[in-house]
Amino acid sequence: GAGVSQSPSNKVTEKGKDVELRCDPISGHTALYWYRQRLGQGLEFLIYFQGNSAPDKSGLPSDRFSAERTGESVSTLTIQRTQQEDSAVYLCASSRLWDSGNTIYFGEGSWLTVV
């Protein structure tokens, strides 16, 4: 596709429910990144993928958060037993390769509200 695509664009969920956020990177991009942006804060790194493997998961806030990527394309970020503090914009990004120098392209984000 032309850009990084994320779905849903908006999600309201009840506390305790599980949610899945989907990211479609730009075709041919091997590196994929997930970031979180809470209201009034900067972007927090969550995880990145090189192909289907995730060399760096250091930003995942707790074991309720997990992500996978299949076929070097689509990635899913899953949040189990959502809490109110999970409310944020979840941004996905991709780049052609994982090493620095490769421009990172961001999607428009998935707005998650936990009530």
């Binding site: 990144y33 009034g40 900067g42 790194f45 990004a93 620095s100 961001f106």
Partner: protein, 116 residues
């Protein structure tokens, strides 16, 4: 751990005023530095980046930034802002392996409002 500080959280300017947004990072090794911009209703996009060479880098739309290693700073500047520059600006540094990877650490952002 690496961190990025943006001291100006909210800046309001009139058109044609000059702009300087501060960015400081904490890391003693090799870094690559970036400024991203997010216009209202749009996704984040790269404004400019520094990897090596001339510490004064020029980006799109008349923006430039200067890397001052001794001050750990990478301030963004524009001589004359326009209403269309209203946006949120994020400074970022890439982390790990001496800057070899694309993992970015972002500042908290600066919201710029330009009044016509």
């Amino acid at each position: 751990a690496q961190s990025v500080s943006q001291h100006n959280h909210h800046v309001i300017l009139s058109e044609a005023a000059s702009l300087e947004l501060g960015c400081n990072y904490s890391y003693g090794g090799t870094v690559n530095l970036f400024w991203y911009v997010q216009y209202p209703g749009q996704h984040l996009q790269l404004l400019l980046k520094y990897f090596s060479g001339d510490p004064l880098v020029k980006g799109i739309k008349g923006f430039e930034a200067e890397f001052i290693k001794s001050k750990f700073s990478f301030n963004l500047r524009k001589p004359s802002v326009q209403w269309s520059d209203t946006a949120e600006y994020f400074c970022a540094v890439n982390a790990g392996l001496g800057g070899a990877t694309n993992k970015l650490i972002f500042g908290t952002g600066t919201l710029l409002a330009v009044q016509p």
